[in-house]
Structure formats: C-alpha cells, structure tokens
C-alpha cells in the first residue's frame, strides 16, 4: 500500500492525538457512572460538567445546560426535528432545503408522512440558498413552524447565510434548527450572534471520535425527548453519559478554538485553492461545483466530465489517495447526489463529481502528490469513455 493521503475529512476526521490522550483515563481509571451515589462514580461528574461548559463556550451558549450530549449528529438532527414537531400537538410546517444531509431529510420525510407540511427550499447553480423562496414560504404558512437549514454543505462546502435565515425565521415565529456539522471547527460559531434555537455538531468531523454528537437547545425552546428512559441531560436524552467521548469532544473543541485563531484555516484554504487551481489547469473539461467565494476553507467539489466518480475513486485509492464522490454508484444508490442535482449541474458532469476535503493535518507535500496523480487517473478513465472523442 502506498502512503495514505487522507482528503476525505468531510466524511470523518482523524481523532487528534491530544483528544485520544484526554479520553484514555476515562477508560482505564475513572470509568464510573457520573450519576452514582458513591465517590468513585461521582468523581466523573465534575469532568463531564466541565466538558459541558467547554462545549457551551465553543458554541457561545449562555448556559451549560443548553448543551445536550447525544450519540451522534444524526441523532441530534432527528431529535431537533422530531422533538420540536412532537411538542406542537397539531400539524405544522417544516421549512428545510433541498441539499440537506439525509439526517435532516429523513426525519422531515417522516413528518410529512405524519401530516405535517414540509417545504424544501432550492439552491441556485452555485449552491446558494434561495432566500426569496424562503421568505415566501415563511409568509405563506400559518401555524407552528420549524426551519431546519444547514450551516455549510457537506458535499460542496457552500455556506448558507444562517444568521439571515435565522433572523427571518424568528421574525415569522419559527423555531430554528441548523445542522452545523460541517461548519464546526471550520468557521467560528456563536449562537449569541446567530439566533438559532437548535444546533447540531458531530465529534468525528472535528477530530474527536465517532459516537458523540451535540444538540444545542436554546433555553425556552419547546422540544420533546427522542430517547426516553433516563433522567440524564435533564430528562431530554436518556442514557448513561458517554463519558470518555464527552471528554474527547470537549478537548476537540478546545483544539478547534485554537486552530480557528492561529491561522490554520487560512493555511487549509491556501492548500485547497492550490489543489483547485492545479486540477483545473491539468484536467480539461473540469468544473468546480459550488460558489467558490462562499465555501468552508477545506472543501473542493470538482466534476470531471465524461467519466464516472466511483471509477475515479477506486483508481485514486490504488494510489493511496482518499476522496469521495457524489456519484450514484459510489453512494450505493442508483441516483447521483441530490446536492449536485439540486444545483443543476450539467448531466455530463453529474456522475463525475469528486470531493476533496482537507484538514489541519493535510500537508503541502500531500497536495503536490495528489496533483500528480489525479490528472493521470482522469486521462486513463477518459481513454475508456465512449463519450470522449479520441
């Protein structure tokens, strides 16, 4: 196997060594239950409370109890959407976008089955949110409303104007949720400035391990629990606290805060831009998907026309390069990415979209190697394609 070049950080990230180190004592020594009425367990309650405060600070939350630790971001998204609608006791409206993660689209679909009105707001060909359609939807729907719109898109990295979206929604009386999984650690998040009621983040997208998510619940938000059967998280999410992962997530939040202020994101953006410029120059008939001036710093989504994504990924994998694709075959379905289709990407390019997503561990050397390999693979696949004139 060649050396692994990991450019799939929007799928999952390397757990930071500092995070792993911070977690280990909570497996080996302090493995008690923080709810226990004995000192051995009780000793764990304080680190969990401190971790909750750290995460609250990371998001700009007023109070630690606004932070709910959950099993993953998908659970947190489900909790936000199904939990708010469950508190309505009447049919309401859910306004979301056409390019959400399935963790949001799935529960919205469930609510539609249950008789709620679900409105999906479209995007333009740069992947930018249609604010006009959103305002019209807010104005046209009486009764209780939930807005669930992502902060940054996982496939293209395009950032939505979440502050504006939240302000408009609040003015119309809606409860506001945002899936900030792809924004956390890449952009500064502060719920003091952005009036969302609910916000989701995932540990494993920001150098904590898989298996921990957070739902921020602004004080006063009416929401019912999804996981019943325990007093934990103030009765809002049952289940014994996942202590090591909570500690790990808090450490990751501290590291992310440091990285956001030490210029790491600028360096990542520079490497991403180098990769983008290099690929556009060496691969004819390629195009960037998503607004290039309005993206998180680590993401490049690029289509190579007339070739298919899965084949490209397998050839890159043989060369040690990890990327991902919105192509149908790679996604395990028959349809190409709903995000790429919602943007009206030409059908010649829909199946050949490749996502490269960097992290603060990505090196310039790795980008240079990638820039050598990708044009070779693209040329090789095009030699096979019946749609390229040879």
């Amino acid at each position: 196997m060649p050396e692994v070049i990991y450019l799939d950080n929007n799928a999952t990230t390397r757990p930071a060594p500092e995070v792993v180190e911070a977690m280990l004592p909570y497996f080996n020594e302090a493995w008690g239950n923080p709810s226990s009425m004995h000192a051995f367990g009780g000793h764990v309650a304080r680190p969990v409370a401190e971790a909750r405060e750290t995460v609250a600070n990371f998001l700009g939350a007023e109070r630690p109890e606004e932070i709910l630790f959950e099993g993953c971001a998908t659970e947190a998204d489900n909790h936000a959407i199904l939990g708010v609608a469950a508190a309505w006791n009447q049919p309401g409206t859910i306004i979301t976008s056409r390019v959400e993660h399935p963790a949001v689209l799935g529960p919205c679909l469930r609510l539609r089955e249950l008789g709620h009105n679900v409105i999906e707001i479209g995007v333009n060909n740069e992947g930018l949110f249609d604010l006009e359609a959103y305002e019209a939807a807010l104005a046209a729907t009486p009764g209780p409303k939930l807005v669930s719109v992502m902060w940054a898109n996982n496939e293209t990295g395009v950032i939505f104007p979440i502050r504006k979206i939240a302000e408009l929604g609040k003015a119309a009386g809606a409860t506001i949720h945002t899936d900030a999984v792809q924004a956390a650690g890449k952009l500064a998040i502060n719920v003091k400035d952005v009036p969302v009621d609910l916000l989701t983040i995932a540990g494993h997208k920001m150098h904590a391990p898989k298996g921990i998510g957070v739902l921020y619940v602004r004080r006063g938000t009416r929401i019912k629990p999804l996981i019943l059967g325990g007093h934990q998280e103030r009765g809002r999410r049952g289940g014994t606290e996942n202590v090591p992962y909570i500690i790990g997530l808090a450490k990751a939040c501290k590291l992310a805060t440091a990285a956001l202020s030490d210029g790491s994101e600028t360096r990542i953006a520079r490497l991403r831009d180098k990769l983008e410029a290099g690929l556009l120059a060496t691969c004819p008939d390629s195009r960037v998907n998503g607004c290039r001036t309005c993206r998180v710093p680590n993401t490049l989504n690029i289509s190579f026309e007339y070739i298919e994504g899965e084949s490209v990924l397998y050839h890159l994998s043989d060369r040690g390069i990890c990327a991902s694709s919105g192509s149908a075959c790679a996604a395990g379905s028959l349809e190409p990415s709903h995000v790429i289709r919602a943007m009206g990407v030409p059908f010649t390019a829909v199946h050949g979209s490749i996502r490269f997503s960097l992290s603060r561990y990505t090196t310039e050397h790795e980008i240079d190697i990638t820039l050598r390999h990708v044009p070779e693979v693209v040329a090789e696949m095009r030699a096979l394609s019946p749609f390229v004139k040879h």
């Binding site: 006791n89 006063g220 084949s311 043989d318 349809e335 394609s385 019946p386």
Partner: protein
C-alpha cells in the same frame, strides 16, 4: 467500498480489449451519460463466422468496466449463435459474482451484446420495444411508474418525482409532461387540510393553557415517578397557584420541588415574571 471480487478488480484495473474496431461487423451503444452507465460494444467476425475481435468503451463504475471487459473475453472465439446464449448471470459468474446492487452492470453487457448482434443481422441501430408510454427517455421511466411514485409518496412537483424515480433528472425535456401527470394524479386526491389560525398575542386563556401544557410536559412526568401529581388552581396575573396531590402533598421537600422544577419550567416556557404559590 463495494465488496468486489479480485477478478472484478483485476478487470477494472487492467481492462481487456478496450477501444474501437475500424469497420466492425456489429456495433451498439446502450445506456447513457445521464444514466451514469453506458457501454459501446463492437465485434468483427472471422471467415468461419466466429467472433475474431471484440472491443468496448465504458462510462461507469468499476463493475461496469469489469463486466464490459469480461464480456469481450467471453465472446471472442464464439459464433453469434453461441454468443447470444450468454446470460447476464454468466457475465457476473465469470467475474466471481457482483454485488446485488451492481447486477445491472452485467445486464448492460448482455444488452449491448444483443444489440450489436441485432445490428449485424439487420443493420438497425438499436432494439427498443415500446409497451407503454416512456415519459423520460434519459432514464427510461414510464407513465405508470411516475403515476405510482406520485400516488404512493404524495408528490406534487416535478422535482419530487425526479427525486423518487429519476424521471426528469436528465435533459429535462419531459418536465412539463411529468407535471401534467402529477396534476392528474393529485386531482383525484383530497384537498389539503384547513390551515391553522395565525398566532396572536397571548390571551389569559392561552396563558393558562400554556401553563397547563408546561406542567403536563415538564413537571408531571417527574412527579409521577414518585407517585405525586400537581394541580393548577388559579392564575391571577403573574401569580400561579398550585396544589400538590398524592405522595407530594405534605412532603417536606415539596417546597423545594416547587421552586426547582415548577418555577424553572414556567419561567422558561411561559413567562419569567411568574411567581408560584403553593396552596
């Protein structure tokens, strides 16, 4: 990653017989760019009528490339009568099997072979058997299929139909026709439920209801675990009068419970100005 066999990966990494043949005896292209799978297959016969040469070009995933490559190896040296007996399952078996979701790749190989033989025998470009109205020709979606997904999933827009069955997601030429079909299906469906009234400033009645709802949702589940309950006696401006029932009545920690639980809940969900008084 898909669980591809070593044979599939070998044919994908080192595809056999890639390219084109000048003046082939039979040639066909199946699939399309919009579908995400396409295969151009061609062959040349020798003097005895056996396939002497077979070549392909494929746009598609690893298993599509491998299936095409396998097909060329399988047909070379066979007569057309022998070759046309090859089934898609035999193509998959030649590769040591394909994942279930990838069997369509072997079907594409079989279709290309049939169409190329048909081309040799008749000179016709392709074989299309139309049994029903094909609305979306990019993805080959029929009217019946669009009607079914629209009905079963309560769809209202072309975009939704595209999400469910791909129809309209290619060139877009059929989008008006899809909208007509969707409208026809929905015409028979019942009208949407009456909209809820617009929210107004909270009246006293609404405030009482909200207090009752908050007690029910936030407070009673906790008290009931200990066999207790709570009753709302009166609401006078910001003063909320409460009475405990069951195990809670007369309990010395009742006052503490009231302060911590009821006041917190009412402050958070109704009004921060509320004062709770225990009867």
């Amino acid at each position: 990653m898909w669980d591809y066999t070593d044979t599939v990966m070998d044919h994908f990494r080192h595809p056999r017989n890639v390219g084109i043949i000048d003046n082939p005896d039979g040639k066909a292209t199946v699939g399309s760019l919009a579908c995400g799978d396409a295969l151009t297959f061609m062959f040349k016969l020798d003097a005895e009528g056996k396939i002497a040469e077979a070549k392909f070009q494929t746009f598609g995933c690893a298993s599509a490339v491998a299936s095409s490559s396998a097909l060329t190896e399988m047909v070379i040296g066979k007569t057309l009568e022998e070759a046309e007996k090859i089934t898609n399952r035999e193509i998959a078996a030649y590769l040591g099997g394909l994942p279930d979701q990838k069997m369509h790749c072997s079907v594409m190989g079989k279709e290309a072979l049939e169409a190329a033989i048909h081309n040799y025998r008749t000179g016709e470009e392709s074989v299309v058997q139309v049994h029903e109205e094909i609305v979306c020709s990019c993805f080959g979606v029929s009217r019946e299929e669009i009607e079914r997904v629209t009905r079963e999933n309560n769809l209202h827009s072309v975009e939704e139909v595209t999400n469910f069955c791909k129809a309209g997601g290619g060139c877009g030429m059929c989008r008006d026709r899809i909208q007509e079909i969707v409208d026809e299906v929905n015409h028979t469906a019942a009208a949407a439920a009456a909209p809820a009234p617009a929210p107004k400033k909270m009246t006293v009645l609404q405030k009482i209801k909200l207090i009752e709802q908050t007690l029910e949702e936030q407070v009673r589940p906790v008290l009931r675990k200990d066999g207790g309950d709570v009753e709302l006696i009166d609401v006078d401006g910001d003063v909320v009068r409460i009475s405990f029932r069951g195990m809670c009545a007369g309990c010395r920690s009742a006052a503490l419970t009231r302060d911590n639980l009821i006041a917190t809940a009412l402050h958070e969900f109704v009004d921060p100005a509320i004062t709770v008084v225990m009867e």
